[in-house]
């Protein structure tokens, strides 16, 4: 075992870099990994020989951690490349797992995004009509840019994924645990999780780890977080503050509710749940305390843009993808 070092690659696509920071936040642990593995590609921490990756045999890599969603042709190309070169491919973090916050772009269109970024914008150069283009000719040659897709995809929309590590970003200790498990598995010193498994997360919802006290729930009014001084000890949902905790897999350690901020669901659905948003919807509306249709309407008016809460981190993984608008 020891003589042949593990071959590892880390990569980010349409992401913010928080996932790589999460890896950095394992601090000295990285050095331990360095001891058992060759990190063949990791742009943030340098010294990755990309060209070698392309030159590699298929399956030459043992493990590839891919974070970020697929927003453009380059992201997709790299996803496919790493898939073919690596024995194990891990969707690392909410964007690769569910589409992440960049996935909210699926509520709008490519045209609207370009319009806003380059044409209709208070600080844009007056009278500008230029927008970036995949191909710009220059002296008989051409400057190329990757193609910006119509919508955002999650990693397993474009390639086959072995494991999913949820979180925005994944908690550093979870990253540690998962890397250890996979390294052990890949070196035959341990059992690999079943293919397709969500790793580095709890089997229960965030409430299980949330320190707030929970009681029977009946809600007469929903509040936006800034509208009331929430009691620091009791369940936020009970107080009428929309919290995705009950419909969200734990593993984060309930960081947000512990700090007085409602959960927004970055770890994705609880195991066995098909659509996180639908489940949040069902739970939240089930605790409405009224039998009067008019009053019920008034109560849910306290939950504007529900789709933005229901699929904050997972629109590309929701049951419904395409609306009549697109």
């Amino acid at each position: 075992m020891a003589e042949k070092k593990l071959q590892i690659a880390l990569y980010w696509a349409a992401a913010c870099g928080g996932c790589d920071v999460a890896v950095l936040d394992t601090n000295e642990f990285i050095l331990d990994v360095g001891a058992v593995a060759d990190i063949r590609l990791w742009p943030i921490a340098a010294d990755g020989k990309y060209a070698d990756i392309e030159a590699m045999e298929d399956g030459e890599l043992d493990l590839a951690l891919f974070n970020g969603a697929v927003r453009n042709s380059e992201n997709e190309h790299l996803a496919k490349l790493l898939r073919s070169k690596s024995k194990l491919l891990v969707a690392f973090g909410a964007c690769a797992h569910l589409g992440g916050i960049p996935g909210l772009a699926n509520l709008t269109t490519k045209e609207e995004i370009f319009e806003r970024a380059y044409l209709d914008n208070p600080s844009i150069e007056e009278g500008n009509t230029t927008v970036p283009h995949p191909e710009t000719p220059f002296n008989g040659d051409v400057l190329t840019l990757p193609q910006f897709y119509k919508r955002v995809y999650k990693l397993d929309d474009v390639v086959d994924v072995d494991y999913y590590l949820p979180g925005c970003p994944p908690a550093a200790d979870q990253v540690k645990a998962v890397v250890l498990t996979l390294v052990a598995g890949a070196t035959g010193q341990g059992e690999l999780p079943p293919k397709g498994a969500v790793v580095g997360a709890s089997e229960r919802a965030v409430c299980d780890d949330c320190p707030r006290t929970k009681n029977e729930k009946k809600v007469k009014r929903f509040y936006r977080p800034w509208q009331i001084m929430a009691d620091p000890e009791t369940c936020l949902l009970e107080q009428g503050i929309l919290c995705a905790g009950p419909a969200t897999r734990s593993g984060c350690g309930a960081r947000c509710p512990s700090s007085g901020i409602p959960c927004r669901g970055c770890y994705g659905p609880v195991p066995g749940v098909v659509d996180q948003g639908a489940k949040l919807l069902s739970a939240v509306s089930s605790i409405i305390d009224s039998k009067d249709p008019g009053e019920i309407e008034r109560i849910i008016a306290g939950l504007p843009d529900f789709i933005g809460y229901a699929y904050r981190f997972g629109l590309p993984s929701a049951l419904l993808q395409r609306s009549v608008r697109s």
Binding site: V274, D275, S282, L320, V324
Partner: protein, 144 residues
């Protein structure tokens, strides 16, 4: 040929489903577009069912329960009633036409009414045309 919508109907066992049976025993004829799925109570209807039906190609979804105050489980239909407006809002956020998903109270003695509801819903969904919701990743990626 005219478009024949596919509608999935979720009916509670005690009132609506019995009402639909009554339409049958009374030989009341109605549009054949609704395919009925029986649940014990309208409160069992998880919004996921509705999204799943739309996702799998339903052009419309009909949800039926007992009349408020007359639920076999005393208040199950109120639970359905509470979930529905938020579900409608979510579907609207998606840009899905309102008439595609409909909630109706049908009692065990309202066979005729059930038939009317089905005919009416079928007409409204037919007028909307086929649902654009059904999502096929392959074709979507092909045209991106």
């Amino acid at each position: 040929m005219t478009f024949e919508p596919k509608i999935v109907g979720f009916l509670c066992n005690w009132c609506s489903y019995t009402g639909a049976d009554l339409a049958g025993t009374s030989r009341v004829h109605y549009a054949p577009n609704v395919r009925i799925i029986r649940v014990m109570c309208s409160a069992r209807i998880d919004p996921t069912f509705v999204l799943k039906a739309l996702h799998d190609g339903a052009d419309g979804v009909l949800v039926c329960g007992c009349h408020p105050g007359d639920c076999h489980y005393s208040e199950g239909n109120y639970k359905a009633m509470r979930r529905f407006p938020l579900l409608k809002q979510l579907l609207a956020d998606y840009g899905i036409e309102e008439d595609r998903v409909h909630l109706e109270w049908i009692s065990a003695s309202e066979g005729q009414r059930f038939a009317d509801v089905v005919d009416d819903m079928t007409e409204r969904v037919r007028a909307l045309g086929p649902s654009h919701v059904r999502f096929d990743l392959a074709s979507d990626m092909a045209e991106r």
